[in-house]
């Protein structure tokens, strides 16, 4: 659905996006993850035909950005960061305006408006002036505006920033639902969001892709073998050796007292054997739990860097 090949954007000699390539199949929800200033927004602006790339190719739904940027825009619904809206317009007026400039056929405007109002739960504020709405509602109005022409592709730049926890949950649910009918790219620097909403993650740092895969896959790939936290009351240091001889176990570390960290192959599950070992040894098993490395660890590992590294030029950060 979305093909990006060797895409680059350079501001006065400083590459902000540096030779990025990826492909998003139809119906996928893809998360762009990366620290602030990594080039997420710039990449999205290029895919939405807002910023022209310095080099590279973008094809959305078979339409090449170079040959017909206006037709490409028709395929994409875009919700920019901070949800810019016209504060003086009413919700319905705004949706009507968006439908007009998106070129929705006149006969479909009514139906499409009802659809997005229903979808984004805007029924009780439809006559309200946008400027008087809460942040959560504004976010939904923005999303409704991006959906009004029923685009096959949705691009959402940090859609949950500045919302309270309840609103965040609602927006995430909405995005997950939309992911069933649309191909979605969303950017965020919030990790749990990616784990909940996205089928696939691209971690972007300093304008380049540093990791690509399903959230689970990435975790396993980058963190190594799974680890079990085990506590055997009464064992003290005595269980290290028997634990190490269990099938599938690749390493045991003693954490003091009866606490151990048992590393094992991801293909095996030594939990049952550990239980039997405890019974045989006369120890009380008080804890047996997998230690899940979070995506957070992956993220930090991949994007930690020297802060004196290449500065991003002020121009690149300024809102265009």
């Amino acid at each position: 659905m979305i093909e990006v090949e060797h895409l680059s954007k350079t501001y006065v000699d400083t590459p902000v996006v540096d030779d990025i390539s990826f492909f998003v199949p139809e119906g996928q929800v893809l998360g762009f993850l990366g620290p602030n200033g990594a080039g997420k927004t710039t990449t999205m602006r290029m895919i939405t035909a807002f910023l022209p790339p310095t080099a590279g190719r973008v094809v959305v739904a078979g339409i090449d950005l170079d040959t017909d940027p206006v037709a490409l825009r028709r395929q994409v619904g875009y919700l920019p960061e901070n949800v810019p809206l016209y504060p003086e317009m009413r919700v319905e007026e705004y949706l009507r305006f968006r439908a007009d400039i998106e070129g929705v056929p006149r006969s479909e405007i009514g139906a499409n408006s009802e659809y997005v109002i229903d979808r984004c739960m805007l029924g009780d504020v439809r006559r309200q002036v946008v400027g008087t709405l809460s942040k959560g509602y504004r976010q939904r109005v923005g999303l409704a505006g991006a959906l009004i022409h029923r685009p096959p592709v949705l691009i959402l730049d940090e859609p949950t920033v500045g919302l309270d926890p309840n609103q965040i949950i609602k927006i995430r649910e909405l995005i997950s639902e939309l992911g069933r009918e649309h191909t979605v790219i969303l950017s965020t620097h919030i990790l749990p969001e990616v784990e909940q909403v996205c089928e696939r993650v691209l971690i972007i740092d300093r304008g380049a892709i540093v990791a690509d895969g399903a959230p689970d896959e990435l975790r396993n790939q980058l963190v190594g073998n799974p680890v079990l936290r085990v506590e055997l009351r009464g064992a003290d240091g005595g269980a290290t050796e028997p634990l190490g001889t269990l099938p599938g176990v690749t390493g045991v570390a003693h954490d003091g007292g009866g606490r151990y960290r048992v590393e094992h192959e991801s293909t095996s599950d030594p939990r049952e054997a550990i239980f039997r070992l405890a019974v045989d040894g006369g120890w009380v098993l008080t804890e047996l739990a997998p230690e899940r490395a979070s995506l957070e660890d992956v993220f930090v590992r991949l994007t930690t860097r020297d802060e004196t590294a290449r500065p991003v030029p002020a121009e690149a950060l300024e809102e265009v």
């Binding site: 022209p52 810019p84 003086e88 009507r96 400039i101 265009v320």
Partner: protein, 247 residues
């Protein structure tokens, strides 16, 4: 065209939901009311010639010009600058519209507001007509002159608004450019000897062009000058909006 209409309608909603629009309308009517009062006083003076009052109304007083020089930047300052400041330019330019359509929509909305500004003054003509004979020809050409001046100045203002994301800076830029355009023509009066340069300034003299329109003279040279400069600035505005993306 439907996209342009949508842009115009949105812009008009924005104009009439801000207090600024009503302030401008009120101030304009106060000023025109004063000029109308002057006209009536003239008419009560037995020495008045028949043509004078309407020439006074259309650009014959410095108030007309001062107000026009101030009000046009106020009308145009928000057009693009505000879209850029608030970020709404992003959803706008990722919709399937061209930069040309955006500029045209914005400009037409500004022109519509300018026309609304002038509409109430038609009442003066109606009132005058009941008390004295008025030649409607010069009235029509006077309004044509006002419209052309509007196209010229609003075009300049629209261009100025694309240059910055700060409304105030956009207004100051527009004001400076319009004053420059206006005063270049006045240089004609400073050059005593007749020369080619004097003729050039004379051709650009907006005050005398407006005076011609007010006297009922529709001179194609004036129309061509005001229209072409106005359209040139609109063209520059489109280019400026396109170039902003390429930085």
């Amino acid at each position: 065209m439907r996209k342009v209409t949508a842009l115009v309608r949105r812009e008009l909603i924005a104009y009439f939901s801000s207090p600024l629009a009503y302030m401008v309308l009120t101030a304009f009517l106060l000023l025109q009311g004063y000029i109308f009062y002057l006209i009536v006083s003239f008419l009560n003076d037995p020495r008045t010639q028949a043509m004078t009052p309407l020439r006074l109304f259309f650009g014959g007083t410095i108030f007309f010009w001062l107000f026009l020089l101030f009000v046009v930047p106020v009308i145009t300052m928000r057009l693009i600058a505000e879209e850029r400041r608030s970020g709404t330019i992003e959803p706008l330019l990722t919709a399937p519209v061209t930069e040309g359509q955006v500029i045209l929509g914005k400009f037409l909305a500004a022109l519509a507001f300018y026309i609304v500004l002038w509409l109430p003054t038609l009442i003066y003509i109606v009132i005058l007509k009941q008390h004295t004979a008025i030649d409607l020809g010069p009235v029509a050409s006077g309004y044509l002159g006002v419209l052309l001046l509007g196209i010229l100045f609003l075009g300049v203002g629209t261009f100025a608004s694309t240059l910055t994301n700060n409304q105030l800076i956009a207004a100051v830029l527009a004001f400076a450019a319009i004053v420059l355009l206006f005063s270049v023509g006045l240089l004609q009066q400073l050059l005593v000897s007749s020369s080619a340069l004097r003729d050039v300034f004379g051709y650009m003299n907006l005050w005398s062009q407006m005076d011609d329109f007010a006297r009922g003279i529709v001179d194609t040279r004036h129309i061509v000058y005001e229209l072409s400069v106005g359209i040139m600035f609109l063209f520059l505005a489109v280019k400026s909006l396109e170039v902003k993306k390429w930085r």
